[in-house]
Symmetry: D5
């Protein structure tokens, strides 16, 4: 399983300065005859609020059905880390990540759940999928517990 | 992403005296090409019982699919806070909030779950959606745990 | 929102001596244009075993879609409390409560979950709904945890 | 609600020596006009491994839709207890119990979940239902938590 | 292990009409050389509010260190069931049960936790022990989860 | 069990306009010979931020050992509800409630846990007790789960 | 690490017919210079009620500090399995197991928690330790969740 | 229930040196007239990273509907244990196991969930099923909790 | 309650560029006569690995007993956010934060729990307190769940 | 913070062939003036059964109070991974790891919890500490949930 032009896997790589500069790499899917789901859970996401400049945090879960390519996971990690100094809104950020992965690996299907930490007492979750799931796909709940407040 | 006539975002705003006086504002949806779900979780809701004048409490979860507009979240917070001195019944209050958001942002779809604290040992939950969810929408459970009593 | 002949709401009322003597009251549904679900959670239900006369306990959850009437919740509480000295079987009791509410408020749809405390090591749960749920209704899981035994 | 030839209910009964000797009794269903689900949770099941003679344990959950008859629960308890000295495999035992109940009460529908304690680090669960559930039946998850190992 | 004058064990017994009429029986402690703890968990307790006559519910946990006698558990069950039509306050009821058991079996030590269902949104828990636990006794937490409200 | 000058119990009472105007009443302790703990759990507390005027929410748990008096629970509920339009800081409010109850019933011992909903991503909890617990008192954990954020 | 006269380890062994016939074996403690705790968790225990002959079930947790000998775990399993056709009371059974292990391996210290499945709605737990724990021992909670009933 | 050429069941068997050398055995399905689901939960899986040679860990859950054959569970355990020194990627390993079982027992249907321990902060889950589940099959959630990070 | 030289509270403030540049402010303790505990829960902490430059994440809980001063919470938030581009080790960072707060407000006592997200499969937690807790202080567990891996 | 002769940190290192060949390295403790606790959680531990050669699994938690040295975490990971082909008993392995760390970094205090996956239905946990914890140390529970079996 070798990617086309892997530049980051197995090397010490500088963190990219922004999501646009990050290189989201791919490796060939060794099982293209199967419709399977891969899930990435990313509990360590942070970006900046575009209005106040204060840090925002989220727990992200990304589900996709690979076609010809798999997402190379180290490059995904670096891509997500590149939002560290990027300002954008919760809805936009969540969808932007989804669009970028779709562009990079052209999956048969993808969905993203963005579970944002509360601001002003009210957290926002954002859920999107690229279309109806492929027929016959097995697609478990993401199962992230709801926000609870206290008590 | 700029709202049409935002009067509250980024300013110190007086809490509105009642829900009707509150201004529920909106900002343009930057991703109108996508059917995505946004979820607000509001664990800090309180109103008054119209019969006894005693405070009532609820945990609210609002899911919607934006069309041209997003709900501006600070104005949502102020709108919900404006129920603090408003008297109304559990079923009515839950549905009233839903109707108001529908009126304000004309979403493609919306649902609300109102999880009320028990009175007389028996809590009431209220669940409503504006119609069948859009085809192809990803719509996770709200996942709020059931009321348990003790033990 | 006023009931037709409310005799119990806002007054100090004698507990009815049996379910048949209890008056299950109703108030007009202020939102008859909407198909919404109301859920009552009743963790404090007790009746008597018709064979041994020993007390039985249950956790009940009632979901319904109001048509013209809402269940008046204080009268529901008194109705359920009236089973205190009534002997009947788990399956019968659960369904009897459902039939009574259906008769009282003629809902568009109703379901009841009766989660009975174990006798002889084996608890019984009883689940019934009045028909397929109305199209487009949002109907969350009752989510009551399964019986566990020990450990 | 009286069974046809109840021989065990309300009496002190000898535990049957084997499942085949146990008498699984029934009582008339007092609500034959309704499609309802009854769930038995049996956390105290034990049998013997047919190869080693060592004890096996399981947590069983049985869901059924009665037709003319209900399962008499004390006789169910005695029937299950009769497996105590019976040797059989996990898959076979689970299905054998289901077949026996189907034969005894001819339900409209039945399913059984057998959640077996681990042997060799790998527990087996067995799930079977007698056919697609009746249309319009309300059928909640059994909700038994997955096996976890440690940590 | 035989009690002195057991009148209820292994017989079909009428439920006593009040706690004072109930007979709390005892059996000899077969292990008087050991300081051990026995815990009864009683999730099915109900009494009446002395002011309103409405039913109250509680989850009770009783821990004791037997001296010469064990509490006979069937008589305990009947004693607790006899509160069904008894009116008294949460604090008083919890302590009354403790005093009665102390009087009946003269344990080396006893404690009771009364976890009452909420009234007016605020549940009361009552905790009492008869003195400092005997030295060297193993005394685990009762571990009852705190009241949570909703969300 | 009668209070000295109960003015609110069993009557329909106007909600007091502020904590200072609220009357925290007491009833005689019927078990003054025992050191027992009474716990009130109050998941429905709200006050105002003295700086912004925005609503604050908390889950409060109050443990005390009565001496001659019990806290009358309806008056406690009204007293806490009277903070609804009161502005004060988290630390101050929590301690003020404790001081008031101490003044009203002179308990042998008291502690309060104030679990405040997060502001700015960082919730504050406040814990105070009036001194070391009485020797021989049984004092279980309050057991409120820690704040979790998301994921 | 070899036992003195191991007759069961690594062989196919007949299940002993009773606890008294079972052989509880031991192996030398390879770390006699250290005070450490070993915990066995036994969720698969069953015996018979001496009065009714019906099966009883328990979840057992055994903690001990070895001196010269370790409990050989296969023989422990066979010993516990030998209670399958033994009649005895909850308190007695729990303590009998503890006494037997103490006799077999003469540990520096031992405790046992017996968490019995409910009979008549009220489960019994039995807790015993052989004396105060050795100074400097690390002794975590057994952490078994309390019995919950339903809901 | 006898397999065709069982070489491992009931014997002491050398662990196979690699998955390809392992023999995945089968026994006749004694209930071929029924569409039932068997679930294996394997919390003890480990393999090697093909790039770094470091160990990887996973929790695996395998669901299948037997046709003529059951998976012989001891041989499954040995087959899975044979990955201990095998290097391969998360996606490939999960699917390879599924393909092997399909080849061995030709089930009517199969699915596998591979829940891998995190690397670089981001765990990968892999989900595949061999096609749409058989009509009328009962197929519960695997219910494995999502990865949480900390807090 | 006014701080001495508050420069950040109630204003829009630039995020400080590093922890050393951040100003940790204080306000007078309005209850200096009481030994109470204040707990800050900070689930949104991030810093950089000093070796690789990759982001690290932690969940922090800080408990302290104020003396003359309270920590001003907005300045705490800004101080913690200033670690965003700071490289340091888990142990050092956790202790550095504790030392800084001690220096700023000279509390009677302080402790910090740093719960770091896993690196290499093994998370590190760091726990420190400034000395034995003040006598008579009430000091609940931080109760953060342990790291679990998968399954 | 530099170790004395670090040979593995920041390099690609061959996994050591056995625990004895592994090099457990150390780095200077930058905070020797403080008694703090560092906790490593290791959910990915595996070794071999010395009798059968079958794999064993454990979840390990190691708490220590550094003196002059910290455990270098990458070398700890490699050391633990080196047990992969090592045969030893649960009690011995757990204590051997503890002794090795004590030898390597001479901590002020250390404890280890070994939570082993079940064999024969009965898991073993092993707990040891090097002596009474240092006075004034803050030492939270490890909080690992108890083994549950099924249901
Ligand atoms: Ca699901
Ligand atoms: Ca809440
Ligand atoms: Ca309960
Ligand atoms: Ca659901
Ligand atoms: Ca169990
Ligand atoms: Ca479900
Ligand atoms: Ca695990
Ligand atoms: Ca404890
Ligand atoms: Ca505790
Ligand atoms: Ca998280
Ligand atoms: Ca503990
Ligand atoms: Ca309940
Ligand atoms: Ca977190
Ligand atoms: Ca504690
Ligand atoms: Ca603790
Ligand atoms: Ca169980």
């Amino acid at each position: 399983m070798t990617g086309e032009e892997l530049t980051q896997l197995g090397r010490s790589v500088q963190a990219p300065a922004s999501p646009d500069e990050a290189v989201l790499e791919r490796v060939p899917n060794g099982n293209p005859d199967l419709d399977f789901l891969a899930r990435f859970t990313c509990p360590e996401f942070t970006a900046l609020c575009p209005v106040t400049g204060q840090p925002d945090f989220a727990h992200l879960v990304i589900d996709y059905v690979p076609d010809r390519w798999l997402v190379e996971s180290k490059s995904l990690k670096l891509y997500l880390a590149a939002f560290r100094n990027e300002g954008c809104f919760h809805e936009d950020t969540t969808l932007r990540i989804a669009r970028r992965i779709v562009a990079a690996v052209a999956p048969r299907w993808l969905r993203i759940g963005g579970y944002w930490y509360p601001r002003g007492g009210i957290p926002i979750d954002v859920f999107w999928q690229s279309g109806p799931p492929p027929a016959g796909l097995w697609l478990p709940d993401q199962g992230v517990p709801p926000y609870r407040g206290r008590g």
